[in-house]
């Protein structure tokens, strides 16, 4: 298996940016029928709230 | 104290154009050159600090570009500053932002400025990449999309405003030396006076090659951000054009507007 697709999402003033979900969509489209996996990284002090928001179909980790 | 301001000569595509034989860029015959709009603001920001400091700050414009890119330096020097720097080498023709950043980092090493102001982006290729890449190459702190600067010579930190999405502004401080990428609207760039334009012609412009900076074309090519496969004219939508005399066009527009807003 070849390298994964890592998505770095962003948040500001406690809210995930709408563009983050678009970037996850781009990752899913890029993955296509390859066997690459998609990992989404939330960089935050308290990432829990954002984790639920980025837990989208097609995301592996 | 010194502020180094990298500026760029950008290319504008003619209405009708042809691609280069290799299909990887527009044929230079169909490109006009201009100064990058963002750089008017970054240069102005540096000049304002210089003037407020009353002689304690030097402002130096630098460009990476061929012979005719000297114009953008003269354009800067017509507004202020005493000398400019131009770096060029034929190996830089298709240089990516990473390569330009490596070149500028060598210029910074020679010049030892306290601050570097770049434009946030350039309007021909719109990477918004060079300034922050330069900071990374130098290991310097950096702040992007700056719309306000509070710094005077000797200050260990600058207090800045960053323009975020939707009109939100963030106030941040940054340790110096630092690279700032400057956004439109931070100031009102001045126009050069005729006297300034005349004086600028006499101001020295140092010319450096890659070798002068201890770099090689092969080294830069190895660190390229990307390789261009091709350029092409995209298929785009096209408005239904309303033809006729101005009166006819306006009448048709009025009818369309009335219909769209559901008026009688």
């Amino acid at each position: 298996m070849t390298g994964e697709i890592l998505v770095a999402v962003e948040h500001r003033q406690g809210a995930l940016s709408p563009a983050s979900l678009e970037t996850i969509a781009a990752a899913i489209e890029l993955k296509g029928d390859t066997d690459r996996s998609i990992a989404v990284a939330v960089i935050a002090e308290k990432p829990d709230d954002f984790v639920a928001q980025v837990s989208k179909a097609g995301v592996d980790e | 104290m010194k502020i180094l301001v990298p500026v760029k000569q950008i290319s504008v595509v003619d209405e009708d154009f042809e691609l280069r034989a290799d299909g990887k860029d527009v044929d230079p015959d169909y490109l006009d050159t201009e100064a990058n709009e963002w750089d008017d603001y970054s240069y102005e920001a540096a000049l304002e600090i210089m003037e407020a400091a009353d002689g304690d700050v030097e402002v130096v414009p630098v460009t990476v570009g061929p012979d005719d890119a000297e114009d953008v330096l003269r354009r800067c020097l017509a507004k202020g500053g005493d000398r400019g720097i131009r770096v060029w080498d034929d190996d830089l023709v298709d240089a990516t932002p990473a390569a330009i950043a490596k070149v500028l980092a060598k210029v910074v090493a020679k010049e030892q400025p306290d601050l570097v102001f770049t434009g946030t982006l350039s309007s021909d290729r719109s990477f918004a990449q060079t300034g922050v890449s330069l900071a990374a190459e130098l290991g310097w702190p950096h702040v992007a999309v700056v719309t306000g600067i509070d710094w005077k010579p000797g200050d260990p930190k600058a207090t800045l405003k960053r323009e975020l999405e939707g009109g939100l502004i963030e106030e941040v401080s940054v340790e110096c030396p630092a690279v700032l990428t400057i956004q439109l609207g931070i100031n009102t760039p001045r126009y050069a006076s005729l006297r300034g334009v005349k004086q600028a012609k006499e101001k020295p412009v140092q010319e450096w090659s890659l070798a002068d900076l201890g770099l090689t074309g092969a080294e830069l090519a190895a660190g390229a951000s990307f390789r261009v496969r091709r350029m092409y004219k995209p298929e785009t939508g096209r408005a239904e054009l309303i033809e006729g005399t101005t009166a006819e066009q306006a009448a048709r527009l009025a009818a369309i507007i009335n219909e769209l807003r559901g008026a009688a």
Partner: protein, 255 residues
């Protein structure tokens, strides 16, 4: 380590550490202001390939290929990244439709490395609410751009907008010049006109940043001197002509 708001040193270190640990083929970021402030540095420090403001990305065989717009959107540029193990791409906003469907990915924690933060967040300053209209709620808009030329020309377009029952907006240079308040600016650093149904753009060539705030409007009418202006690629109706002459004639229809 506290990361309440964006801090470039901390974000760079975190993504670089993740990349070191996981060796991803691609790192995707949104092409946003925060990303402008650190993704290129991640690429530079990691020795990664990099393309910003990407509008399409795919695998062509084993090669990662990204597409981005150049020369004022007139051309597209297709790039690849030979011999790069990892590539940083920033993805233009409003191109990909946000993923809606929820899933249940595995969740793991990754301790961000200790990093010295060399910038410090002080405060956020909310955009001015000048008691002026909220253009994000306007259904009908008439916006003016650079083509308006001078400050004293703005008033006649305000009057035209009023007579149409439209809300007056503008593009960035008009707000930067102080000819109209920032609250009237449409675009990435201004407002997105989410409720707008009809948008009349006069003397606006259509920068990416402006179009980000209005290209979703179902009926866009563009009036511009330059037949090649980008705005005509998203408009439904267009007039190639002088905005002042058109405005003069339009006035007669709405007085």
């Amino acid at each position: 380590m506290p990361v309440a708001s964006f801090q470039s040193d901390v974000y760079e270190a975190a993504v670089l550490a993740l990349a070191e640990a996981r060796k991803p083929a691609v790192i995707l970021f949104p092409h946003s202001v925060d990303t402008w402030g650190y993704a290129p540095a991640v690429a530079m420090r990691g020795g990664f390939g990099c393309a910003t403001d990407v509008i399409d990305v795919k695998y062509d065989g084993g090669d990662l290929v990204a597409v981005r717009a150049v020369y004022a959107e007139k051309l597209h540029m297709e790039v690849d990244f030979p011999e790069r193990e990892t590539v940083v791409l920033t993805v233009r906003t409003n191109v990909f439709k946000p993923t809606e469907a929820d899933g249940s990915p595995a969740v793991s924690e990754f301790a961000a490395p200790q990093t010295q933060a060399r910038t410090e967040h002080i405060t956020y300053i909310e955009p001015e609410q000048t008691g002026d209209v909220d253009i994000s709620q306007a259904e009908y808009m008439l916006s003016v751009g650079r083509g308006v030329g001078e400050e004293e020309n703005v008033e006649q377009f305000k009057e035209l907008a009023d007579s149409l029952g439209f809300t007056l907006g503008c593009s960035r240079p008009i707000a930067d010049n102080g000819w109209l308040p920032k609250s009237r600016q449409v675009g990435q650093s201004g407002k997105t006109v989410v409720k707008c149904k009809v948008y009349v753009a006069m003397g606006i060539s259509g920068s990416v940043q402006h179009m980000a705030g209005m290209k979703h409007v179902p009926s866009i009418i563009a009036i511009n001197k330059d037949a090649e202006a980008s705005i005509f690629t998203i408009a439904k109706y267009g007039v190639v002509g002088d905005m002042f002459e058109i405005a003069e004639e339009l006035r007669g229809h709405f007085s």
